[in-house]
Symmetry: C2
Subunit: 364 residues, 2 copies
């Protein structure tokens, strides 16, 4: 009986010792404190350059920290300080040049201020987006910068972020109803700019392969399209206004659909470069002369627009500026003690980049 207990005790001691031996404990401020025979508080303050610590001690601490190869435990300080220095980013996908360069810029700006980003993608699915939000909240991010999935209509999950007092900044695809900050371009104006450009090129029947109206930016592009037609006394033909998800495949399908009309359009303006690319593929396959028989304009200025033949006219959304502004907006909130968000739009001017697919004057 007693022997058993002793045996058990010895076993436990032993396994503990083994554990200690095996696991190379990372150095902590406690180790530094022990070496210098000062308190952990002093070490912590020294490392954070507190004014109440003498320069001599600071130097010593820094030296020992270096010698022991000390790496601060971010989790501990984050827990204590109540902030993780992590910012969540949600985008529909990263393998689009627009989103990836927005992220790149956000990362660049935030890294400088000691923040890291956790990137997640919704793959245009509302369900994945909700999961992403949960994951980010769970990871205790200090803020979220997001561009919504096409599918997203219900904003309950985004309200969840707001209700937790975590700053939320939307860009590109954002619903203003959430009353948070938004950074984007003037889609309505840009859309008008495109139509006007096509009109100038002599186009009379301009089709629009648009996104779904429930997404504000696509709705704005549609409104811009309609109003620009009105302005130039061109009739609005409902056959020429199509909504879709704007993938390459959608572009192919909708272009085919447009070509099957009794009276075909003489120009197609797609609300995304991907849809424009699909349209271009169909036009090329059917040997339709671009831009002479059909002018084509995309949206987003993805790099491939200048790679394909003919190159596609598109709209430059200044992705880097969007990323920068979003990051700066977040940083503003980090300076405020209590987060109180309100609708705050930063609208950048987009720029039309005319290429071969709509440059009739030049080509002829």
């Amino acid at each position: 009986m007693i022997i058993k207990f002793i045996a058990l005790y010895l076993f436990k001691r032993l396994s503990k010792d083994i554990k200690k031996l095996n696991i190379k404990r990372k150095t902590t401020i406690k180790d530094i404190a022990n070496v210098l025979n000062i308190s952990t508080a002093a070490v912590s303050k020294a490392l954070n350059d507190d004014s109440r610590i003498s320069e001599k001690t600071k130097q010593a601490v820094r030296q020992v920290a270096k010698n022991l190869n000390y790496q601060p435990n971010h989790l501990a300080s984050a827990l204590r300080k109540g902030k993780s220095n992590l910012v969540g980013v949600i985008v529909p996908r990263t393998n689009s040049h627009f989103f990836s360069s927005v992220i790149q810029k956000i990362e660049e700006v935030l890294n400088k201020e000691g923040y890291n980003i956790i990137m997640t993608q919704s793959s245009e699915s509302y369900k994945k987006e909700c999961n992403n939000i949960d994951t980010l909240l769970f990871t205790q991010v200090d803020g979220i910068i997001a561009s919504m999935a096409n599918e997203t209509i219900d904003l309950a999950y985004y309200e969840k972020i707001k209700s937790k007092g975590i700053p939320l900044i939307l860009f590109d695809r954002g619903e203003n109803d959430l009353n948070v900050d938004y950074i984007g371009i003037n889609d309505y104006d840009s859309s008008q700019m495109i139509v006007e450009h096509l009109v100038k090129q002599g186009c009379k029947r301009i089709a629009h392969i648009g996104g779904y109206r429930h997404t504000r930016i696509f709705n704005n592009r549609i409104r811009g399209y309609i109003d620009a037609l009105k302005k130039h006394n061109l009739p609005l033909d409902n056959e020429l206004l199509i909504e879709s998800s704007l993938t390459i495949e959608d572009g192919r399908k909708k272009m085919t659909q447009l070509l099957n009309l009794k009276t075909k359009p003489d120009a197609v303006y797609a609300a995304s470069d991907y849809a424009a690319l699909g349209a271009l593929q169909i036009l090329n396959e059917q040997n339709i002369n671009i831009p002479h028989d059909m002018a084509l304009v995309g949206f987003g200025n993805e790099p491939f627009t200048s790679m394909v033949t003919p190159s596609i006219t598109s709209v430059n959304q200044h992705s880097e500026e969007i990323g920068k502004q979003a990051a700066l907006k977040f940083l503003e909130y980090t300076k405020e003690p209590v987060i109180k968000q309100s609708l705050n739009k930063i609208i950048l001017n987009a720029e039309l980049v005319v290429r071969d697919s709509s440059n009739i004057a030049k080509v002829e």
Copy 2:
């Protein structure tokens, strides 16, 4: 005097109270414990489905947790458990389809197991890569999955990861000298496959716009190129073998350089699709018939290879499989108590995707 002290005390009390009022404390397991009049330990165990807690209590805990809108504090549990459930990913850039889809897959696999990823990009800079590593270590990631920057020769920083006992998994661009896991394709074989394909198309003078030899994959592609030439009794002409950073711009420059040779090549094999694209632009600009006068092959199977005219023959690296294997490899380590890494290569078979830029038989 005494009055002053009292005033100071009252002021401090007041400001503390104000703080308490202002900051909406998030619910913790303590709150749940209080409601149910049990210990926080019981709550923690209930939430983690510990067998020593009755089903009744578990149900109650879950219910209260839901009612109070409880969100576990990841930082606290990470600190206590000594793991962050965060995995760092380092890539040269995210706006390449290859890397972005590798990341996508890693994310997918790891999310299922409760891990999140922190994505960083080196932008092909060694300095940024070192920063990224520091950042990731600082963030206490449980592992790092990386593809090295072109510039990276010194491996000291990567040794740092290893020395901390954090699993490191390399993919695509990896130095085997580090003695860690590596997932990639067989570059040597793929390179031979490309040359053989070109030989079959009747090409006799095949140029190679390669990457720098110090990067193993590019060295392997160069070796494959050389050996395949030998195998088919084609002379190796040093003018036709060029090293570069493989950007679009490099492709343009090196193609121009090749066109200025006394005896031009009749085929160009670029070790990246981006370089191939640059080459294609020059060829198109100079109205050189592809593939008739000059066959062209890229590497990586980036989406744009099928978008441009003519479409570019390339090698599919099975990015998703690479991502999957990398993630699985990491997960293996999470099951082991002590990380002991060794060189462990997973080599996937790449696939040649023949397109118009090299399909002479079909075009003629």
